[in-house]
């Protein structure tokens, strides 16, 4: 139970008929870490997980688990266990037999396998329900049983396919804390597929943001949040405004970017040649109403919408060639100097809050 395996995905491609679901992705997940595959539906994250699990064949490339190449091994011989999105509990077996299923397949005697299943149920606090059928359990309870069933194979890596998507919001938050606790206790590698940024941020040691079968960024959540690698990541994480433009001046890693028929913006963090087209990201929560402290660090636009959210207020502003620019203001800052829809409002941000985004080389 203590052994954990690193997962090494080396230029793995998956082609279905004529469509490529996964484009030669490479990824290293360190042993014992919690990795979240994040992306919109159809981005290839589930396919990637299923290829690691062995439920999907790999068109080209290799997957290593620990020191073993598992590319052509059947699921059960990879040292992985998978938890399915709908939990896939066997409806005709009681909870204990569900958990003991893999032991039964191995030919372990009935009393021993039921005893071991009961131990596993204790781990997920489900032993009072040992004789129930899955249909008699709530969603959260079914999920615990599915977890116990996956863990009884003593896997080196646990693969979870959208494990929380079927739960109600309150339970989702509780179960996610439990998943994290379980991962820390067991010390094995978890790979978790999700389309929820919040879930990935809360759980992961590494977030892998995927889009159209490619990895856009694989990094610690803090880096993904603070320094999104591409415009897609910045938009998908939802906390950045993305301003596309063309470089008009460059000085080391500082550039000035001009928006077509609009303003010029300063940004840091990327060496770019003059004339190159580039995306600039501005943190929504760092924008304030007021005059910029330096040219290129703000603009004046017309307020299109105001959304009150309690602790914060969301402004949507258009101007200087930028549409739907979002500013998240604290309620105190907003109500100190309120604006109305249709007003012209000057927006400003700090020089470190505007960064240059990269692009995927495809």
């Amino acid at each position: 139970m203590s052994k954990a395996a690193a997962i090494d995905i080396a230029s793995v491609t998956k082609v279905y008929g004529g469509t490529t679901a996964v484009h030669a992705i490479s990824l290293k997940v360190p042993a014992g870490s919690y990795c979240c595959l994040l992306g919109p539906s159809g981005c290839g994250k589930s396919t990637t997980l299923r290829m690691i699990a062995g439920h999907e064949s790999i068109t080209s490339g290799d997957i290593r688990l620990g020191n073993a190449v598992v590319t052509d091994l059947p699921p059960a011989r990879r040292g992985t266990a998978m938890m399915f999105q709908s939990y896939a509990l066997f409806p005709h077996l009681d909870v204990t037999d569900n958990v003991a299923f893999s032991l039964k397949m191995k030919g372990v005697a009935k009393t021993e396998r039921r005893a071991r299943a009961l131990d596993m149920l204790k781990l997920v606090h489900m032993e009072p329900y040992a004789t129930r059928r899955p249909a008699q359990l709530s969603g959260g309870q079914q999920q615990r049983v599915a977890l116990a069933r996956a863990l009884i194979t003593d896997p080196e890596a646990l693969l979870l396919d959208e494990p929380l998507s079927a739960l109600d919001p309150f339970l989702k938050i509780r179960m996610r804390a439990e998943l994290k606790r379980l991962q820390t206790t067991l010390g094995i590698t978890f790979v978790h597929v999700t389309h929820s940024q919040e879930e990935a941020m809360a759980l992961a040691d590494i977030i892998v943001v995927m889009n159209e079968g490619r990895i856009e960024q694989a990094a610690h959540p803090r880096e993904v949040f603070e320094r999104p690698a591409t415009a897609f990541v910045a938009r998908f994480m939802g906390d950045h405004n993305v301003i596309p433009g063309r470089v008009t001046a460059a000085d080391g890693d500082r550039v000035t970017v001009a928006v077509p028929d609009g303003g010029a913006f300063a940004a840091t963090g990327g060496t770019r040649a003059v004339g190159e087209s580039v995306d600039v990201a501005v943190r929504t929560d760092r924008v304030r109403i007021g005059a910029p402290e330096a040219p290129g660090l703000g603009f004046t636009g017309i307020v299109d919408g105001i959304e009150y959210r309690g602790a914060t207020v969301k402004l949507t502003v258009s101007g200087a060639g930028v549409t739907d620019f979002t500013a998240i203001l604290s309620d105190a800052a907003f109500f100190a100097a309120p604006v109305k829809v249709g007003d012209a409002a000057p927006l400003a941000w700090g020089s470190e809050d505007a960064i240059v985004l990269g692009r995927l080389h495809s």
Partner: protein, 301 residues
């Protein structure tokens, strides 16, 4: 004032009428089916039960209450032999249709990838049913007969020196024709249950290290049991009530309960046939009850 009072009375009568209508509407909605079932199922069964206690001679029936018909039916060893023979047919045909039906349904449900192809192949299975039972049965005769296709092929190939006699007009022929006629009644409900099995269950089993046979035995067959039970009910009741297949394919050499009844009726021994029918009905109902006890089919319905 008076007008207002009149209005109120009228209103309350209207409400009463409406509530009577609402209460009776449920009965009205159930009435057509109840009438049809009552006239065409319940009434005939009651009549058969009543007639089974009547007396008769070679020409006429006499309303009476005697148990002689039952005593004769149950007291004769011919009856017992016929029942045993019918049960034997039912058991053999059930086992064969279950085996064939399960594999056909399994192949359709798990090995055909596209839904369109599944539906096309399923419809292909039903094509023989566009012709009547009798025609499908009789079409076996030129195949199995003394100078039929099989025998001429066997003799022609030199495998047997003389035509094989037991192919037609034998228990073999009866069972073959029944399996041919009734396998689809097994395929359909099993296919239906198999299509409802969540495919991720199969993956979960494979993830737990199950081989294909283990998946079949531990996951698919247990989940297909309700379909098998429904198919079993169809096949068993059809075989137990069959007389034409037995008569045609055995050439009159074997008997079934229904055939015995038919013979009694052609001798105008209606009360005896009725007593026989009641015994058969009770037996079949007991068998169905037994199946329902073993397998819970409610979730299939």
């Amino acid at each position: 004032m008076t007008a207002a009072a009149d209005d109120m009375t009228a209103g309350s009568t209207g409400r009463t009428r409406a509530s009577i209508f609402a209460r009776s509407s449920a009965y009205l909605q159930a009435a057509p089916l109840a009438i049809i079932l009552g006239c065409f199922l319940l009434l005939p069964i009651v009549m058969i039960a009543v007639v089974s206690f009547w007396d008769y001679d070679f020409a006429q029936m006499y309303p009476d209450f005697i148990t002689l018909n039952y005593a004769e039916t149950l007291g004769s060893w011919v009856t017992w032999k016929t029942y045993l023979n019918t049960l034997r047919y039912a058991a053999i045909v059930w086992a064969l249709t279950l085996f064939i039906g399960f594999w056909v349904a399994y192949y359709l449900a798990f090995h055909i990838r596209t839904t369109t192809m599944q539906m096309v192949l399923f419809l292909v299975c039903t094509v023989p049913f566009l012709t009547s039972n009798i025609i499908r049965m009789i079409s076996w005769i030129p195949v199995l007969g003394r100078n039929g296709l099989v025998n001429s092929a066997l003799v022609g190939a030199g495998i047997v020196p003389a035509p094989v006699e037991w192919l037609l007009y034998s228990d073999f022929a009866v069972v073959l024709a029944m399996v041919h006629l009734y396998t689809l009644f097994m395929v359909t409900p099993i296919f239906n249950t198999l299509m409802r099995i969540d495919r991720s269950l199969v993956e979960a089993a494979r993830d737990a290290g199950a081989t294909s046979w283990q998946i079949l035995w531990n996951v698919i067959i247990p989940l297909a049991k309700p379909g098998m039970a429904i198919g079993t009910i169809f096949v068993v009741t059809l075989v137990m009530a069959d007389f034409s297949t037995v008569q045609v394919m055995s050439g009159g050499q074997s008997a079934s309960v229904a055939l015995m009844m038919k013979n009694q009726m052609s001798l105008l021994q209606y009360p005896a046939a009725a007593a026989n029918a009641v015994v058969l009905l009770v037996l079949v109902l007991l068998m169905v009850a037994g199946i329902l006890r073993i397998v819970d089919i409610r979730k299939e319905l």
